[in-house]
């Protein structure tokens, strides 16, 4: 039912975009409501809205701020002109322009993960400065400093050349299509994956998302949009001036993005209207526009951080978004988890075998020859004081730390060490995080749906009945008692529920082996009891569990076997009772040996 409401909303949004595009076209085209000049301004808002949207979606959905997207509008514009000079029709030109920008954008986007957001922003700036210089000098392609006129472009659909009177229609058509496609992409699974990677790069890898690939597709898509804007600009203006692709123009796009609000379609439209409108209103008084731009950027960022449109929407909706709501989870549907596991996990119950793993950080031996076996369907505890190497071991399992030496780390028959971090969940390895690390901008339901898509293939191959991601998500929500909180954003939820949602996320990914990083830390007694019940049931249902925690008594309660790590070495291994009385363990934890203790009592 909820799924269909979501679809209905998306259809409604698409219909609204189409109607708006059509109405604008009728107003300035056939109906001639405004006259040529205003009509042209509206067209300009159209093509600026496309490029603003390309910057805004990248900033809003990926956290990547391109300072110099002008390089890509330039590709769109100059490819359009040159192919038109070669006599190609617009229907052939546009795809070539878009593909060229998308390909270059993909290459650039792949590098985003290598740098901090800051460096990447400055890198795009460098690209645009170099691009501007090339435009000024490469006269055969761009006409150099003098610019280049746009020739008559044939159109197969019209059956004739595009006239100046068609140019507005072309821009508006492209703007409408760009908005439709962007809305489709951003509101769908792809946009949610981008949001997941943006807020939790590490956790997103643990459920199988590939951050470099997501960044690259996002940047490529954004570059394609920018090129579309460039093509519309070329046709609408009829003449290309290099100044249109200068750093100043790039900064103007940043102004539009900041003022309108990132990640918002209406915001992009508002921002584009702002950068077209301000110079128009300030005509006659020279140099007012830069003042207004600069001041607008500063005021918006200081007082309406999210931009004008999202902030106004937030006020209009009574500010309910983002307020803290205490929600009680419904009682976990007890006894149901065995069924849940059978229905949603493709491979419950695989053995985890860690053999002879050593890790060095510089001269520090973080792990020395560590071997741990978690038999299929059992719960094993790993304890140790701070700095003993617990987290390092978990990071080796996740693929974030490469061991200096290791015989093997296997799940069932699959060797994990040769797999990239995001490939490990398909092998059945899932993990949770000490701070839950849920995707900040996705509701619990959206998170589970998007993650469940990753597990679809494995579920189908395992012959499970429940394969469709939405159905899997609903099943997990019901099974873990998350119904009441499914539509909430993580930050509005109590920590205990966040931790349950973190487990739900690993299950949605299809992990049959769970490594839990300090699941009980930060929980109150009530929350701990609920979590303990869930973990007991998962274990009973055949899920293999490795618990890593400080809260020793919880581990003794749940685990059948306990390993103790100290200074990177396993110092003890055995049944909880034996571990409890092991003098070496007591020494590691309390810093004193039994004889000393007795001596001090005496």
């Amino acid at each position: 039912m909820i799924a269909s409401t979501g679809n209905r909303r998306r259809v409604a949004r698409a219909a609204a975009i189409l109607l708006a595009g059509l109405a604008t076209w009728i107003a300035i085209g056939p109906a001639q409501l405004f006259g040529d000049y205003i009509g042209f301004l509206i067209v300009a808002i159209g093509y600026f809205a496309i490029v603003t949207m390309s910057v805004s979606m990248l900033a809003g959905f990926c956290g990547i701020w391109p300072i110099g997207h002008t390089a890509f509008t330039a590709i769109g514009a100059y490819v359009t002109v040159n192919l038109a000079l070669a006599g190609l029709p617009i229907e052939a030109i546009l795809p070539v322009a878009i593909l060229a920008a998308a390909a270059i954008g993909y290459l650039l986007g792949m590098t985003a993960g290598r740098f901090s957001i800051l460096y990447f922003g400055l890198l795009t700036l460098a690209v645009s400065l170099a691009g501007f210089e090339i435009i000024g000098r490469w006269e055969d392609f761009t006409g150099g400093e003098n610019g280049i006129g746009v020739p008559a472009i044939a159109s197969l659909l019209l059956g004739r050349a595009i006239r100046l009177s068609d140019a507005g229609g072309y821009s508006l058509l492209l703007a409408t299509l760009a908005f439709l496609v962007t809305d489709f992409v951003c509101q769908g699974p792809v946009g949610r994956r981008w949001l997941a990677v943006k807020s939790q790069r590490t956790a997103s890898m643990a459920v199988g998302f590939v951050p470099p690939r997501e960044n690259a597709t996002a940047f490529s898509f954004s570059a394609a949009l920018a090129a579309t804007s460039g093509s519309a600009m070329a046709v609408a203006i009829g003449y290309l001036d290099p100044e249109g692709f200068s750093l100043n123009t790039g900064i103007t796009m940043l102004v539009a993005t900041v003022v309108g609000g990132t990640g918002s379609l209406v915001g992009a439209l508002f921002g584009a209207s702002f950068i077209v409108g301000v110079p128009e209103l300030a005509r006659g008084t020279s140099n007012v526009a830069p003042f207004v731009y600069g001041a607008a950027m500063i005021v918006v960022l200081l007082f309406l951080r999210r931009g004008v449109v999202p902030s106004l929407l937030n006020i209009a909706s009574g500010g309910t978004r983002g307020t803290r709501m205490q929600k009680q989870p419904s009682e976990s549907a007890s006894g149901d988890l065995a069924e849940l596991v059978a229905e949603v996990l493709p491979s419950a119950g695989k053995e985890l075998r860690i053999e002879n793993v050593s890790v060095n950080f510089g001269g520090v031996k973080a792990l020395q020859d560590v071997s741990v076996v978690v038999p299929a369907g059992r719960a094993i505890g790993l304890i140790g004081p701070n700095g003993s190497g617990k987290t390092t071991l978990l990071n080796v399992l996740s693929g974030f730390v490469r061991p200096r030496a290791a015989t093997s780390v296997r799940i069932g028959d699959t060797e994990l060490l040769t797999l990239r971090p995001w490939e490990r969940v398909s092998a059945g390895f899932g993990r949770t995080f000490q701070h839950a690390e849920l995707f900040a901008e996705l509701t619990i339901r959206d998170t589970l749906r998007i993650v469940a898509r990753k597990g679809r293939k494995a579920r189908r191959e395992a012959g499970l009945n429940l394969v469709e991601p939405d159905a899997v998500a609903e099943r997990i929500i019901r099974g873990l008692g998350l119904d009441n909180v499914a539509e909430s954003l993580p930050h509005s939820l109590p920590f205990g529920i966040q931790k349950v949602a973190d487990i739900a996320r690993a299950l949605a990914a299809g992990a049959g082996m769970l490594a839990l990083d300090e699941p009980f830390s930060g929980l109150d007694a009530d929350e701990s009891a609920k979590l303990r019940a869930i973990l007991r049931e998962l274990r009973a249902a055949g899920v293999t569990i490795l618990i890593i925690d400080h809260v020793v008594h919880e581990i003794f309660d749940l685990a059948e076997d306990v390993y103790v790590l100290d200074f990177g070495c396993i110092i003890a291994h055995g049944k909880p009772n034996a571990i409890r009385s092991d003098p070496k363990v007591r020494e590691a934890y309390f810093g004193i040996t039994e004889p000393e203790r007795e001596a001090s009592h005496a």
């Binding site: 400065l129 003042f291 731009y293 950027m297 500063i298």
Partner: protein
């Protein structure tokens, strides 16, 4: 070969301005995690004020010192009024940068409105030319290089030997621990912004004397300074200085041997290649983020 030597020497002279700007950028970044895009425009603005002061009859040296101090004060005000209210957090890195872009726009527009856009001649500190390896270098440029070196030496002395400078370095390494030890992070930020913008003012004064003064004077040198910062690493002060000089030399050599038309492109291509090899620059460190 003689060409190469003379190109290197004049490149180092050009690079001193980039190195000063780069050093200013890094000092500010280390203290408040802010890339100050308005740093060059701040320098240009006080240079305009200096020229007005000189025209009004105030001695050159006094005008210059006033300009440098004023730039520092503008820097402190920027941090207080625009950056500090934002608060802290990784996601604010870019917000702070965009705010300084906005400030730069306003400053450029203000300079255009008050002093106009036509380039104005600026009195060189030292008149005359000297021949080095067959290339004429203005005495002004040599003086600029010397002043830049002295300024850098002072900065190195401040951070290396002065207790407060050492405290500032400690604070950049670990702001939390610095606060726990009772260091006044507000004062550290103020001094860093003062120093950074002051250095930028020295750079812009000499660049103006070298060419002519106009509101967009900072544009090209600022991006070369950024390139230098890329090379050296955003967190390393010596790295930024060496990077700035290296860009000056690279710019000169590329302009001479490859193409004078594609200087930006060549400089930035080299940067991109370097970044792929060493994402943190040659002397910078990638901040460890908790996994």
């Amino acid at each position: 070969m003689g060409d190469l030597i003379s190109l290197t020497i004049s490149g180092i002279a050009n690079g001193s301005a980039f190195a000063l700007l780069a050093l200013g950028i890094v000092i500010i970044f280390r203290s408040t995690d802010t890339v100050n895009f308005a740093i060059g425009d701040t320098g240009t603005l006080v240079t305009f004020i200096a020229i007005s002061a000189i025209t009004a009859g105030i001695p050159l040296a006094v005008s210059f010192v006033m300009a440098i101090l004023l730039a520092g004060c503008i820097g402190v005000a920027t941090e207080r009024l625009l950056i500090r209210p934002l608060g802290h957090g990784q996601h604010l890195l870019f917000v702070a940068l965009v705010i300084t872009i906005g400030l730069g726009l306003i400053m450029q527009a203000a300079m255009g409105a008050v002093w106009g856009h036509t380039p104005q001649p600026f009195p060189p500190l030292v008149a005359g030319w000297v021949e080095v390896g067959g290339v004429a270098i203005s005495l002004n440029k040599i003086a600029a290089t010397l002043v830049a070196l002295v300024a850098m030496a002072l900065v190195a002395w401040f951070f290396g030997y002065m207790p407060f400078g050492i405290a500032m370095r400690a604070s950049a390494e670990d702001p939390f621990a610095a606060r726990m030890l009772g260091l006044n992070t507000g004062r550290i930020a103020a001094i860093a912004w003062f120093l950074g913008c002051g250095l930028a003012a020295i750079a812009m004064l000499f660049l103006a004397a070298e060419s002519a003064l106009q509101p967009h004077l900072a544009h090209s040198p600022l991006f070369r300074a950024f390139a230098g910062v890329f090379l050296g690493g955003l967190t390393s002060m010596p790295g930024a200085v060496i990077g700035g000089f290296a860009i000056g030399v690279l710019d000169n050599i590329a302009g001479h041997y490859i193409s004078a038309n594609y200087r930006d492109t060549i400089v930035f291509s080299v940067i991109v290649i370097v970044l792929f090899a060493r994402p943190a620059g040659f002397m910078g460190s990638i901040r460890k983020e908790r996994v």
